[in-house]
Amino acid sequence: MFKKLRSIISKTDADYADIRYEIKRETKISFNGKELGQIGSNTTDGYVIRVLKNGGISSVAFTKETDAEKALESASQNAHLISKNIEKAVEFAKTKVIKDTFLPKLKEDPRKVSIDEKLELTRKYNGIPLKHEGISTTAIQYLEVIREKYFASTEGSEIREDLITTRINGLITSKDGNLIQNVRAGVGGSNGFAILRNKEGEFEKKTGIALDLLKATPVKAGTYNVILNPSMAGVFTHEAFGHFSEADLIEDSPTMREKMQLGAKLGNNVLNIIDDPTMPDQLGFYRYDDEGVRARPTQLLKEGVLVGRLHSRRTAAAFGEPLSGHCIAEDYRYAPIIRMGNIFIQPGTKTFDDLLVELGDGLYILDAKGGQTSGENFTFGAQYAYLVKDGKLGEMIRDINITGNLYKTLQNITAVGDDLVLCQIGGCGKGQLNIRSCNGAPHILVKNIIIGGV
């Protein structure tokens, strides 16, 4: 394979070129309610070429091997066109030339589990909510994505790495008259099939929440002091802070760069945030990114001070900061962009009970339900919450959507729990979908959060 890839990029007159060939095998089994909607395994493949020429960089994604020459030519022309139109040449930060094959250690290789067994496990989990009368439907899916990646560059790197993602997840919907509630449920990971077994408890717990939500009280819009559970705090870390530490999102915004200078005191002293793709057994684990750079743990916030950033080779050079190995593509249809790996708030010292006492009156908000960010502003939803009065948990509340400003919120995180949890299901849609986007946190206490209500 590498011989073929080398021969394709060797024809370029560019300053630098790389090529990534991927074989992607997807196994999907999906249920809508009791009915099986889809089952099957399919393999697709394709190439992405990137060319750096005279200070311009361009990429072409293609699926037919016979288009390789045309693709290289287009990328070269586009790079040349860019070079004529920019003031500052694009440079790549220097990285080690690597020749390596990395196949992750698995706890049960999903390729060795029969599709019948996968179907039965999915059917079993899907059946858990459907036993209950108040559950109107489910949409539960088994998804297995195996990316076999081959990367070669004109600098001489040749890297083969496999990324194996498995999960069973979806939505449980409850209904009472015209009131419909739904809850996300799921298990998954990057280290094999075993993580999916014996997880009935997850689907039983989420079924209970879907049913309880039918009786929950809608939240009143307003500003609250809150405790976020690890899932919510993890999504906050990803959405509000994490995206802002992706160098490509702020590179060309002078106003955002000004605020995000290394050394800036952005958050409360209790706050430490790191992105570490090298943690084995976590969803966001990988060894090399899609530019052939070895991933490294990157401390982003240290006692509230910005100390690091996530980079591609291009942005590391542009910012004059160290490479971090965070330039990742969804698959062979895309050139890589900067993505988080495993981003999380590092645990503090407070127990959950300490946080409840510190909160006094407010809300305890649980389980993220989608979020979005735009520079310093973020919005995200929660599955449910409980009223807290005098440090005691009260009734269940629904329809929680919060919004806020990154800087104010980072300052308003006043206490961090000791109970770190990282997520098992990813789905970050920054132009491309990253199903291995992993985030986490312990419980955290946040002051003055705006809740929209309905």
């Binding site: 009915e35 099957g40 050139a335 735009s374 959507n401 919004t403």
Partner: protein
Amino acid sequence: MERLMQIARKVSDKVEIYSLDETSNSVSFENAKLKDIDSKFQSGFSLRIIKDGKVGFAFTKNLIDREEFVENALSSLKGGVEAEFDLPLTGNLPKLDTYDPSIGSLENNTIVDECNRICDILAPRTEGQINLYAGCGINRLRLMNSNGTDLSTDYSYYYTYTAIMYPGSYASISREGIYKKFKKTPDACLKYVLDTYNGSAKEVSPRGGKMKVLFLPETIYVLMWRLWHATSGKSIYQKESPISGKLGKQIFDSKLTIYNDPLNDRWPGARSFDDEGTPCQYFPIVENGVLKNFYYDLHYANKLNTKPTGHGFKSSGWGGDTITLKPNPHLNHLFIKPGDKSLSEIIRSLDRGIIVAGALGAHSGNIPNGDFSIGLCPGLYVENGEIVGYVKDAMVAGNIYEVMKNVVAIEDTLYPASMGTYPAVLFDDVSVATK
């Protein structure tokens, strides 16, 4: 494809083959400077077979080993996915004007020159940051089935997206243009973006509460997403639509007419058939506030014992790779009927209110229930008929079955935007939460 059809027919009762070739170029400008140019040439095939009332599905990028491809579809039959529907025999469809051959020879430097021209116009007239995205492409689609259907369509597109961004964020005033061939961005579009941004450049923090809220064409999708969900044959079958029993009933303000019109070929992407070969048609969803129809693909129409409506598309909410997706009911050509007031007339009529110029978190919240709760990104605050500034850190929330009962005015012009082609719509009595 013909050979694949022959091979597949021998081992199954019904066969459907879908092929898609896509070529595209995209150009991005950030902070008024050229940033990236990327291209794609992608192709692929999907295969659906029906045998003994079960459906098998497979897809591939390269049609190298046809036998193996068919074998893959056959092996997925074992799962036992029911297929009680037949594949349609469709021909003699209306000819739509979807393809302009000039796109094939459009060069990236023409697009770059046009973006430079726009930057030269905008940059001296605003302090906001200018981002532009433009690009073009050609899609070639062919669909054939064993009942004799053999349909194809080519379509070309050229788009520009012009945005001026507020400081410290990606919140922006933006407008999209989409055409079948290269076209210079009209002055009116640039003027709208400039005037709206410059008029709202000051940050303001108004009081919250219930007030009039104007959704621009760029943000109406927040509301339409909930309606998409509620009127899909899939939701009706799954019993997750709050309006399943409301056909013929008034669900929205009588000023609102919402329809799907795949045959409208003024914009790119018009279709005379869906991704299963069912003919497309003008299709009212809501007429003068009255719920008229639910939309179906072959599978859900069969399940609910009704006729397919030409809405079986291989789409997913998150882009997805078309050939890897099975058809599902989708509204891919949604319109809201324009009203009789210009945008500036509507704004002038507002004593106090919020304009939703950008939305964060449209995908969160209880979509089946019709609830939405979005961060303003940004919101523009209007007092005494004039925009006085932009608002951040605020949310607009509600339920579409309450909010859309209270329409004050609808803009007189349609704009292509996210998930459809819409005018701006002004609603009364919507909840706004601020700090």
